[in-house]
Assembly symmetry: C2
Homo-oligomer: 222 residues x 2
DNA sequence: CTATATTGTTACCCATGAGTAACTTAAACT
DNA sequence: AGTTTAAGTTACTCATGGGTAACAATATAG
């Protein structure tokens, strides 16, 4: 479906395993370990940001969660904002991955939209993604800010295209794809702020209700 | 429809006008003037918060916008957080006022929901309300936090009731009113983050699209 | 026209928290 | 071995910004 953090999709081949069997502890190359730790830091940070908010969370807080001291973090991140940027990269990959999957088959627009919604509700559960959704917009470095906006527009554009395709192929009724895409995103992103997997509301019911309102609307016809 | 800030709905009677005509400058009582200034400060603060965010906006920034110095603000507000609390009070009054209006007549649930949506899209344009929507959740004083949650739940509950009523009277199709209410709010609140009155998208089109998706859904039936 | 509350100012305090420098420990690689 | 590089630590600096004290001006009332 998506992919994981940096570049550790499969563990790096270990071409030296034949040479000598003295590598029992390493097992993971240093680069891989580094990526794993970065991922852990990101998760800790994201969890803290979701609980207390970006500004009320200090780097010391994050370091404490990770059981290291603050300066150590700087070995993995450039600065505080860089955490958000790295979360965004993860989010971008996951969401675009979903969109790739959804648009791969040549279903009609409605079917694709349905698949996207189902997948997105899944994605929106992840702490790193929730963190990104909540804090996208905090970027203060102008360049990072611009990059963030661009990636956001790109994703919105792809959903808009799905809707537009649906209108064209007749599977969706005539509507303004731009506005509908934005409204849909607002509702779906909102979910990330309140939905708890541990709660009594299960995934299926949630997805069903989203699909109900999006596809049929709530007005009774008879 | 709603009402304005503190308690200045009509200018306070001026029962002393007969006594002597030496009151030409005052015209507004001191209490009224104070409320007017508080309102202005709130608007300046809200505008700044919407542009730069709560934490990136200093009290000096707000003071500068209002053309006074920081300590002066403390004559009108208790502290920085108090600004958010006061914005919330305004928002609460406006939204509950709308709900009062909407539920006053005994239309069916669908008609009431429609009216609410139309009114809410209007409300969500105001800077103070936008500010509240964006920053509800930042409250750090536990008491204020609790009060905020309570008022939020109350409003959500009233909308849920409208939907429940609609399901009961048959004007809305069977659905989970709790989830639908939340999704609806997410979408509507989202509007406050991107919609600009000066933009090329006019109110009517926006409302029409929201109603389209909420009432009919986007799936084509034929 | 003075007395008094209301607004506002200048000049400060001080907690917080991001980021850095310099040093120590642990691991890896011939 | 023993040297290099990665990983982490303690102990700082330093800007920012919320909040306050003490003082100055202005208006309202008697």
């Amino acid at each position: 479906m998506g992919n994981n953090i940096g570049g550790i999709n499969r563990i790096g081949k270990t071409h030296n395993m034949i040479k000598k069997v003295k590598l029992l502890k390493p097992a993971l190359g240093r680069e891989e370990k580094r990526q794993l730790k970065l991922d852990a830091i990101l998760r800790h940070a994201a969890a803290a940001f979701m609980e207390k908010g970006y500004y009320k969370t200090s780097l010391d807080d994050i370091a404490r969660l990770h059981k290291v001291t603050k300066p150590t973090l700087y070995y993995y991140i450039r600065n505080k904002e860089d955490i958000l940027i790295k979360c965004e990269a993860v989010a971008s990959q996951r969401i675009n991955g979903l969109l790739d999957d959804v648009t791969a088959l040549d279903d009609n627009g409605f079917a694709q939209l349905k698949k996207f919604i189902e997948g997105y509700v899944e994605i929106v559960t992840d702490d790193i993604i929730r963190c990104h959704i909540r804090h996208r917009g905090q970027r203060e470095d102008p360049a990072a800010r611009e990059a963030s906006l661009k990636m956001h527009r790109e994703i919105e554009h792809r959903v808009r295209e799905i809707i537009g395709r649906g209108v064209a192929d007749g599977s969706l009724r005539p509507c303004n794809p731009t506005i509908i895409a934005i409204l849909l995103f607002d509702a779906l992103n909102g979910i990330s702020a309140w939905y708890r997997e541990e709660g009594d509301l299960n995934h299926e019911e949630l997805v069903a209700q989203v699909l109900l309102i999006v596809t049929e609307g709530v007005k009774n016809k008879e």
